[in-house]
Subunit: 360 residues, 2 copies
Amino acid sequence: APVHRIAVIPGDGIGTEVMPEGLRVLEAAASRFGLDLRFETFDFACWPYYERHGAMLPPDWQDLLGGFDAIYFGAVGWPEKIPDHVSLWGSLLQFRRAFDQYVNLRPARLMPGVRSPLVRADGTPYAPGEIDMLIVRENTEGEYCSIGGRMFEGTERELVVQETVMTRHGVDRVLRFAFERARRRRGRLTSATKSNGIAITMPYWDERVRAMAAGYPDVAVDQYHIDILTAHFVQRPDRFDVVVASNLFGDILSDLAPACTGTIGIAPSANLNPERRFPSLFEPVHGSAPDIAGRGIANPIGQIWSGALMLDFLGHRDAHDAIVRAIEAALAPGSGAPRTPDLGGRAGTADLGRAIAEAL
Amino acid sequence: APVHRIAVIPGDGIGTEVMPEGLRVLEAAASRFGLDLRFETFDFACWPYYERHGAMLPPDWQDLLGGFDAIYFGAVGWPEKIPDHVSLWGSLLQFRRAFDQYVNLRPARLMPGVRSPLVRADGTPYAPGEIDMLIVRENTEGEYCSIGGRMFEGTERELVVQETVMTRHGVDRVLRFAFERARRRRGRLTSATKSNGIAITMPYWDERVRAMAAGYPDVAVDQYHIDILTAHFVQRPDRFDVVVASNLFGDILSDLAPACTGTIGIAPSANLNPERRFPSLFEPVHGSAPDIAGRGIANPIGQIWSGALMLDFLGHRDAHDAIVRAIEAALAPGSGAPRTPDLGGRAGTADLGRAIAEAL
Ligand SMILES: CC(C)[C@H](C(=O)O)[C@@H](O)C(=O)O
Ligand SMILES: CC(C)[C@H](C(=O)O)[C@@H](O)C(=O)O
């Protein structure tokens, strides 16, 4: 079996609690499918490291991590101690940029045993699997450019400006990825912009969508403004398949979509460098959750599901599918599997992690 | 009674169909409350005008409209004939800027007889009035700045840039308005930014919120990132009171919030110049709806409700309340009032408009 070298970064808060469960399930998958996963753990990208070193990362972090096939990440951030824009721009957002992880991939799927807060127009609930979208987010440019600054500081005339930058290179490659995925799924692609209001960058994105669509006659394309699209997510979430958007709009939609499936606490996320020139990064959508950290009650499914996405990316579709099935089996009503408090039970993080590993 | 001079601009599509019903209800309110409303209708800001004149507005539109107390607006846009960024930037967005309508106000309230697509965590529906938010959107600067451009056009190196500009003047005045409203409502204010990702402009907005909050110790302030806030709208919409946000984020939230109350087709919107140096503008949230235009089946409630906001702004709170009660009475299950197709009935625009006018 090919060797897969994986850098493990638990990070802050519940990141350190859910990571062992993610690893437990990956080990179980490795033994069932005969995979050779080699883990190495790093203690940076967290507040305790910052406290000791005055930085989120060691100076040679790119060398340390660059040779791995993947980074398995927990969560970062501890706002009481260190502002988010320092901790995140000093770690996670560095990884995304330096390792050119230009696709952020976030599946949102209504799982069995998880309640969606949405009902159909006739008042009936959606069935498991009926809401099933894949959000494809541009992950390196767009609205997240730190170009700009402040003027007339501290006076009544004070102002701030910040650039959004979109490049053809950056837009086309994420669109191509999204079209390819749509082709392999249900053949529908929805693009979110705001061209009627943000009238320079957003029409450009639309233009590139139309150009790319010409090469994918088999994919049905819809273009929406982000405002009305959020309304449609709530009104007709079952109508969407692949949804592609800029860095900011993808960020918003990839929290809203899991919220629509009731799964924001268990949603996974993949930050991909599809060409594999650099390691890709896999992390739960949830953050470090300081409010429940240290109590051993965090739901580990986001971390475990992210591990499944990692195995898929490393070429093991069968192992991915088996983990997702094990998660579904644990969540299914009447499964008897332990449930963490967010799922209405009293079990701990490790109880649920063990149950999923055993189901494998 | 003081004279109120009102410019009426029906605009495109269903704008021309719902406007007569809005006027009908305003006339009814005027006679009941002894108001002196003087209407003058203008035929610009629509595709037919553009077709004849090659522009959305006459050159002297600022003089023509500047002396009115308010503008009562239908809808603009006809994408098949003219791109949105031309029709909107050539009319509606001009009004907002030139008349310094820096507050966009959008109530979202669960009305009787209207189904919310959301249910509570225990699966039960929300009751009318239980979801009741007021979105306060900055309406003149922020992400909607047309500063920027394109480089290396038509080549592989092509890129676009666009500025976001926030001024202390612009941010503080809309925040002050929102804090004042929160004080008069339930005393809660939620601010939406994205400071962990958009790390120059958004932290500035947060900073101004904190500065303003110091002067409103009686208002409870929450600051959220926009991504997780959209998730909370879906999960706990009853927890929000006043929500204040930048131009773009306010735009998104003020479609999402009505969607959460099932009322996107009937939601109203006020574009205010609170100091009354310029006319304020009142319009339904819905657009010109080319797909149903010309059939006389559009729901006129958004237009009527916007008229109520106009009377409130002109100093007639009692007339506002009476119109909202008449809308609620018509919507209430078993009211016997005619229902348009979007509400599950077969009535026409005028039937529903007449019913509401009569209920007054
Ligand atoms: C039409 C468009 C430019 C406008 C906006 O984004 O302001 C609309 O969505 C609105 O919310 O009034
Ligand atoms: C923490 C924050 C900067 C980040 C983002 O917006 O990218 C997060 O919300 C995410 O979606 O991964």
